[in-house]
């Protein structure tokens, strides 16, 4: 089993936005998605999702709504807003630029 990696600082918001792009989710769902999609490599201290979600709410990048789950429990579901979609695009291209730059540096070495 590969060693679990800590998140790069500042990437949590991006991961959350990316996850929500597929479909609205509640917090637990977001945590699960990140874990599964990264083949268990990326783990988030799960609770830290919540301050981050508040930050995104405040910025207007996501919306929150209380809804019933399949098991008929009340949960808060988060949906990506158009502004959030734009923000995700910007963050992704920034991130890619950075990764590419780091890659070039490492190749050169």
């Amino acid at each position: 089993m590969p060693k679990k990696a800590d998140l790069l600082p500042g990437t949590l918001d991006m991961l959350i936005l990316r996850t929500l792009k597929r479909a609205p989710q509640h917090g637990y769902g977001i945590a699960l998605s990140i874990k599964h999609l990264s083949d268990d490599v990326l783990t988030v201290e799960e609770g830290s999702l919540y301050p981050a979600l508040q930050r995104l709410l405040l910025r207007g990048w996501v919306k929150a709504e209380w809804k019933k789950t399949e098991t008929n429990r009340r949960a808060r579901f988060y949906t990506l807003t158009p502004a959030g979609r734009k923000q995700l695009g910007a963050e992704l291209s920034q991130f890619e630029q950075m990764i590419a730059a780091i890659g070039r540096v490492l190749q050169d070495a």
């Binding site: 201290e45 609770g47 830290s48 919540y50 301050p51 508040q54």
Partner: protein
């Protein structure tokens, strides 16, 4: 736009804070439940599943706190911090009051002293472009910054290429005729462009016009604002009125602005145009005019000095009789005005600063003790989710509360102290320092207080945080109450105490040296007996008493009338000054029968009545005093002081019988008939120069000083003397009624020494107290930390004596360290202030030793109490309590 949206979203949450919290909690609980369910379905045992879910989730309290911080306004947490800080401080009133009190003390002293420094040294002089103003002087070795003669002034003004304008002033007591008789009034004679050079325009009326300072013009005068208010009720119709000064009608042409002041003039009421030349001003050798110049653009003081020097050199060649040896000096006007008191103010500011430093160190060590005590609380708060940034902010907030309380108290105290100190300055002294006129709170003072507060606050928040970060937070939870942290604190606390004692040592030595200087100054050999002497000065109208015979008759009459007063033993008169007046009125002479190359022997001159020396109880060394018959029918006589005899005659030469002549205008020979012991004619701290005394009857004058010796209280004699003189003639003005002792004590030198010694002494005593408290705190804390160790020592039978010694030894080492370091610093500091010391070296052994003993003794006393407590511990109690 975005930030506005953000604000409203935050505001919406702010009003539904309860809902926000409950939703957050519900959401988090949901998350953990789901996780738990997932684990259970994976076959994990229920207990373990719950635990794992919780662990995966992280510190819920901390996360909630973080979420709150995301959506809350900054001021909310700040308010929380303040509320908590107040609660903490209220819980420890002893600590809080001590800390605030010490800070208030330190800040009060620094702010009050800074106010003086600001008024005198920082605030620019209230003239147009004041840095371009310079004092201009003639210069001789005996008097490096001396007045100009009128003809020299005219030449300097005409020939210089460095000043846009050069003007002169002369202090002058005017005899003011009033319906109630004559009074003296402080006045100033100025050249026509004086105010224009300073860049001042009258509040009312007009300035002097060019040429108005010549004797051909109508006599005119400007009023000071104070004189206008007090003598003329501030009425505008004062312009054009006339006032009789020295028997001459002057027209009032203007009133000076209220805030205008010119310290070297000593707050004059009447500003008259020079009206030159008078008899002195006809002569190139009569120096009476002080000059100020405005430098041309781009001209430095050095350039101006070089230029005036070359003019002086030219005049020396042109007029060797009068100008031989007359050089030039130029100095920035600021230097001329405040140069004298700058070192004293800086020393006082340094003292106040050190006091503040001790106070800060003390408060810091108190904070440290407290942060030790709160180690567990901090650890718990950290574990419960307080971020370290939040903890630092908590300390900063507590520091802020302390400094704000201490600072505002300090500033209130300072404003009171400032008022007290200015009230303590005698009016005469105040006239000399009119730059203190608009003394009080201003922007610079506020900025200074603010800067102090910021520094203190930084110190108080950084130190405890730094201390706490030295050991991990976890350590705080595990650690027993008494352990290693106590030790490391003790080391830091000890260093602080050593520093405090060293600073206290510096202040005490400073105070000791200044005190000793003052003592030496007041016990300098005066050459006469100052007690039981009453003195006053007389100005009689020239029109009535100006003739020589009439002046002589007036002097005799004054003496005989005052002699008649009860308890008066003898009365003497001197013109051109009495002891302490200064060495200003000088004359040039040569010794007849010696080769003379035109050099100017510049010597103070006094014209005295036959009874003058015996009234002072001066000591006649050889020869005789003057007698009533030494008048113009006789040869000219003189008495010289010892300094004169030493300087101008060799050891085996007898001064008696030698003959002198004035220069450059030769007189008939002056025969020396007596030698008196040196009388302190000038400032106490300056060696008495050679002085020439002439018989009053050969050099009469209608303005002179009376000295009366009484067998009873000299102060109560003064009113009777004034009355007696007014009985002779109401139009004789009497001024400067003062006893000789007071004259000495309030002389500028004595006063400045006096006030600096008292102020620094006050600082030193407070420093001693604070450092003793600091030492007590450290030793007491150390004892409380070591209770168990001491108990164990005592249990198997260690003598209380040994424990006692253990504690005292620790305190003794600290004190000794502090004293040793302080000794070195004190000598260095004293060297810096050597210009304030009189008759004492900066490394005066007896002062240093005495201070070390005092400090050592107070240190022992401070540690005695905790030491005794340690020695009287009951080992059983101690061990049981652990």
């Amino acid at each position: 736009m975005d930030s506005l949206l953000l604000f409203f979203r935050k505001l919406a949450i702010f009003f539904r804070r309860e809902k926000f919290s409950s939703e957050m909690e519900e959401e988090m609980a949901f998350h953990r439940e789901q996780q738990e369910k997932a684990l259970l379905s994976d076959g994990v045992a229920p207990e373990s599943a719950r635990y794992t879910a919780k662990r995966h989730f992280g510190n819920a309290t901390q996360l909630k706190e973080q979420a709150h911080e995301v959506v809350s306004f900054r001021f909310e947490t700040v308010l929380q911090d303040f509320r908590f800080a107040f609660r903490q401080l209220r819980k420890n009133p002893g600590f809080t009051f001590t800390a605030i009190g010490m800070l208030a003390l330190g800040i009060c002293a620094s702010v009050a002293i800074f106010a003086f420094v600001d008024a005198a040294l920082i605030k620019p002089l209230p003239y147009r472009d004041p840095t371009r103003l310079a004092g201009v002087f003639e210069s001789i070795p005996e008097c490096p910054q001396c007045p100009l003669s009128y003809p020299d002034y005219l030449d300097w003004k005409r020939l210089n290429t460095v000043f846009t304008s050069l003007d002169v002033y002369q202090r002058n007591g005017f005899l003011l005729s009033t319906p109630e008789g004559a009074q003296t009034a402080r006045g100033l004679r100025v050249s026509d462009g004086f105010l224009r050079t300073l860049g001042i325009t009258p509040l009312l009326g007009r300035d002097f016009y060019p040429g108005e300072d010549l004797s051909s013009a109508q006599p005119t005068v400007l009023l000071s604002y104070a004189a206008w208010q007090q003598r003329y009720g501030g009425k505008e119709d004062v312009l054009g009125q006339t006032v009789i000064l020295d028997g001459v009608q002057h027209t009032i042409i203007g009133v000076l602005p209220r805030e205008f002041q010119f310290a070297p003039a000593r707050s004059p009421e009447f500003w008259a145009a020079l009206h030159a030349p008078n008899s002195c001003e006809l002569r190139r050798s009569c120096h009476g005019l002080m000059a100020i110049g405005r430098l041309k653009d781009g001209i430095s003081i050095q350039t101006a000095l070089a230029d005036t020097k070359s003019i002086a050199a030219q005049l020396e060649i042109q007029y060797p009789d009068s100008n031989r040896g007359q050089g030039a000096a130029v100095a920035p006007l600021t230097e001329v005005i405040v140069g004298d008191i700058r070192p004293i103010l800086l020393v006082l500011l340094g003292g106040a600063g050190l006091l503040l430093l001790i106070a800060c160190v003390n408060v810091t060590s108190l904070l440290l003790v407290r942060s030790e005590g709160r180690r567990r609380e901090i650890a718990v708060r950290g574990a419960l989710g307080a971020s370290s940034a939040r903890l630092v902010r908590q300390f900063a907030t507590e520091g802020l509360v302390l400094v704000a309380a201490g600072g505002s108290m300090g500033i209130i105290l300072a404003s009171w102290l400032m008022r007290l100190l200015t009230r303590l300055i005698p009016t005469d002294m105040m006239a000399n320092m009119s730059f203190l006129q608009d003394f009080g709170f201003n922007l610079r003072l506020g900025a200074f207080a603010f800067a102090i507060a910021i520094l203190c606050m930084a110190l108080f928040s950084v130190v405890p945080t730094w201390r706490l970060s030295l050991s991990s937070l976890r350590g705080g939870l595990v650690e027993a109450t008494r352990g290693s942290s106590g030790n490391s604190w003790r080391r830091l606390g000890s260093n602080l105490v050593v520093m405090e004692i060293a600073i206290a040592m510096v202040l005490l030595v400073g105070a000791g040296l200044l005190g000793k200087s003052l003592y030496r100054l007041l016990h300098v050999n005066l050459g006469f007996q100052p007690d039981h002497l009453a003195t006053l000065a007389i100005d009689a109208p020239d029109a009535v008493y100006g003739k020589d015979e009439l002046s002589i008759a007036l002097a005799r009459r004054v003496i005989s009338e005052i002699e008649k007063l009860p308890a008066v033993q003898s009365v003497g008169i001197s013109c051109l000054g009495i002891p302490m007046d200064g060495n200003g009125n000088t004359t040039w002479f040569r010794v007849i029968g010696r080769p003379w190359y035109g050099e100017h022997n510049d010597t103070p001159q006094r014209d005295v009545s036959p009874t003058y020396f015996s009234t002072l109880h001066a000591k006649l060394i050889r020869g005789r005093y003057f007698n009533e018959n030494d008048d113009t029918s006789k040869p000219n006589f003189a008495i010289v002081n010892q300094a004169f005899a030493r300087k101008y005659f060799s050891r085996d030469e007898d001064a008696i019988g030698k003959q002198l002549s004035f220069v450059p205008v030769a007189t008939k020979p002056i025969e020396i008939v007596g030698v008196v012991e040196d009388i302190k004619e000038g400032p106490l701290d300056i060696p008495t120069p050679p002085v020439l005394y002439f018989p009053l009857n050969q050099n009469p004058s209608d303005s002179f000083t009376v000295v009366a010796r009484t067998s009873q209280s000299e102060a109560s004699l003064l009113p009777a003397m004034v009355a007696a003189i007014h009985q002779i003639d109401r139009n004789i003005a009497v001024h400067d009624e003062i006893t000789m002792t007071e004259r000495i004590n309030t002389s500028q030198t004595a006063y400045l020494h006096h006030s600096s010694a008292w102020l620094v002494g006050g600082f030193a005593i407070m420093a001693l107290l604070l450092s003793a408290i600091g030492l007590y705190g450290v030793v007491a804390y150390s004892v409380s930390q070591r209770t168990r160790e001491l108990g164990i020592r005592l249990a198997p039978g260690a003598q209380p004596r040994a424990v006692y010694q253990l504690v005292m030894k620790e305190a003794g080492l600290l004190a000794a360290g502090g004293i040793a370091i302080g000794l070195a610093c004190a000598v260095a500091a004293a060297t810096l202030m050597h210009s304030l010391l009189f008759g004492v070296r900066s490394w005066d052994v007896s002062t240093l030793a005495a201070v070390a003993v005092v400090l050592g003794a107070s240190a022992l006393l401070a540690s005695y109490v905790p030491a005794r407590r340690a020695a009287s511990l009951d080992p059983v109690d101690v061990l049981r309590s652990e």
